[in-house]
Symmetry: C2
Subunit: 328 residues, 2 copies
């Protein structure tokens, strides 16, 4: 910038004023500065600007991993919203436990104006200890006291799915659970139980099988359910990956879906549409979650005094396909 100023015969202050359209500058001076800046291929140093302005124009995204289309959708939602505000996205994923998480948190601080964090089992105190007060943070899919969150209505979604299956005439509906410590898994289980109770369905505890959201767990659960003496007539998996695993197990056990057994998942991942039979699922507006989270963060950035931003819970939507015996 100093070079531009010298070459144009003005001071750095004037150059800065031209570049930011702040303060009055004569027409001829402005033109001359823009011209020499172009000629010198000058691009202003974002780091230095961030330092004086004390804003990085960047929001950080912390994800547990980047595998599969679920996180891909989160990123897409986040990046779209961020770019719309002319901010930047700093991406970070964390695989191994607490140490890496705190390390990531700390290196992100000072580089971002706000943070979107998705970590299924994060605790409030970890956040408090590693983040400076006043840094806007929005959690995705996790309820943490004292922090803004964007979540989906897991319980209502799960209940709606069970009710749908009940309307198809199913009374024995099994559920393949997600990871035990996972908040989403618990909420979906709660929704299942509520719908079973309210619908007067068969509440046999054998119908609830453990899982951990992986396809392999779904496969194992599917084998177990297929081998049951009193086989269920419908199976509701806590996510699509497990539903697909179960589907494979059923097929290998000689069971036809949906003729012998209705099947449904949760998340409505991309693949759900492509398996045969196409998987009935609960659509989760992943993309929108990311976008909403960013909006909340940036709102807090814009008006820091406005206190903790409100948490939002997004509704889910039932997507009926062939696997439950009702859809196309």
């Amino acid at each position: 910038m100093r070079d531009v100023a010298r070459q144009a015969g003005v001071s750095v202050a004037t150059v800065s004023r031209v570049l930011n359209d702040s303060g009055p500058v004569g027409q001829d001076t402005r033109a001359r500065i823009l011209e020499t800046a172009g000629a010198l291929r000058y691009v202003r140093n974002g780091t230095a600007r961030s330092l004086t302005m004390s804003t990085t124009e960047t929001v950080g995204v912390l994800l547990p991993n980047l595998y599969g289309d679920f996180y891909s959708e989160v990123i897409r939602g986040v990046e779209g919203a961020v770019r719309a505000r002319r901010y930047h996205t700093l991406l970070s994923s964390v695989h191994d436990g607490l140490d890496e998480l705190t390390a990531a948190l700390r290196t992100l601080v000072g580089r971002v104006d706000g943070l979107v964090v998705m970590s299924p089992d994060i605790e409030a105190e970890v956040l408090e200890a590693n983040l400076p007060p006043g840094l806007p943070v929005v959690l995705l899919g996790a309820e943490v006291a004292g922090h803004a969150t964007v979540t989906i209505d897991n319980e209502a979604g799960a209940a709606a799915m069970v009710e749908h299956l009940a309307r198809q005439g199913h009374r024995r509906i099994a559920h393949i659970r997600g990871g035990a410590g996972n908040a989403d898994a618990q909420a979906r289980l709660a929704g299942y139980r509520r719908a079973v109770a309210e619908g007067g369905l068969d509440a046999d505890p054998d119908l609830v099988i453990a899982g951990d959201f992986t396809e392999a767990a779904g496969y194992a659960a599917g084998q177990a359910l297929a081998a049951l003496d009193a086989r269920p007539t419908a199976v509701f998996a806590a996510n699509d990956a497990m539903a697909i695993g179960a589907l494979r197990a059923f097929r290998e056990a000689g069971l036809d879906v949906p003729a012998d057994l209705a099947l449904a998942g949760f998340d409505d991942i991309l693949v759900a549409r492509y398996v045969t039979p196409a998987l009935t699922s609960v659509h989760v507006p992943i993309h929108e979650m990311g976008a909403r989270a960013v909006e909340a963060v940036l709102a807090a950035v814009a008006t820091p005094e406005a206190g903790a931003p409100a948490s939002v819970t997004l509704p889910t939507r039932l997507v009926v396909r062939a696997s439950c015996g009702a859809g196309g």
Copy 2:
């Protein structure tokens, strides 16, 4: 940092020395500083550090969009490699043409130490005009003179697939092309043509159908092929999305895959495994491409004088599944 220094009764220089383990500091002083830094919840300002060190410890990733598991895999590869080096990933996607691209390029400059750019139709001069000389850039999947690139061997992969189909006895093999201006599409078409010529297969120009890498285009192409008087016995689509679109068209036309028609794609996206029949494809090491690109960028960052990093071409791998009539 000033606060820490004051509270610990030392100068900022000493604090800095402790935090960076540079220069000698007394044991007691060091302990005292670390303690007060912890008590004050001090985390050093990365922006200021970047300014003095003139390194941002960040690499930028520019992608044409973020939709689908292809880009998701690129990101995963990039982020993994970046994190392994304790760098950060600044993510940016660009949808609309040149203006947005140059804008993105310019805002990224000064925030990153290097760039990984994936833009199918980028031109060398655009890069030159918007990037300061000396900023390491690695292009993904595009050949641009004078720049390091990481590409895959599209032509060999396509040829291998056609040869595989020929070995199954097919002589009339159709090809659904990718976008006309796209380098990948051209290379795959070239591979197809070479294999057809070398294998003495039917070179009917009607067997090459236009497409643009979208599922919709594949569907349209599939309809066209199904309606052909002299129908091909095998179809090789330039990517999986189009193959899946074609699959749908064939099914609707009453054709059985693979009994009536063998089908193959390219990319080996996640979904390829899940469609029925599972799609034979050419596996592309997307994840590794991202990682390699980052390694090249960071190598150039570490030793700027070492000239332009060498370009690398990664091999593809044939993945035989049910859709071509040979696999499981």
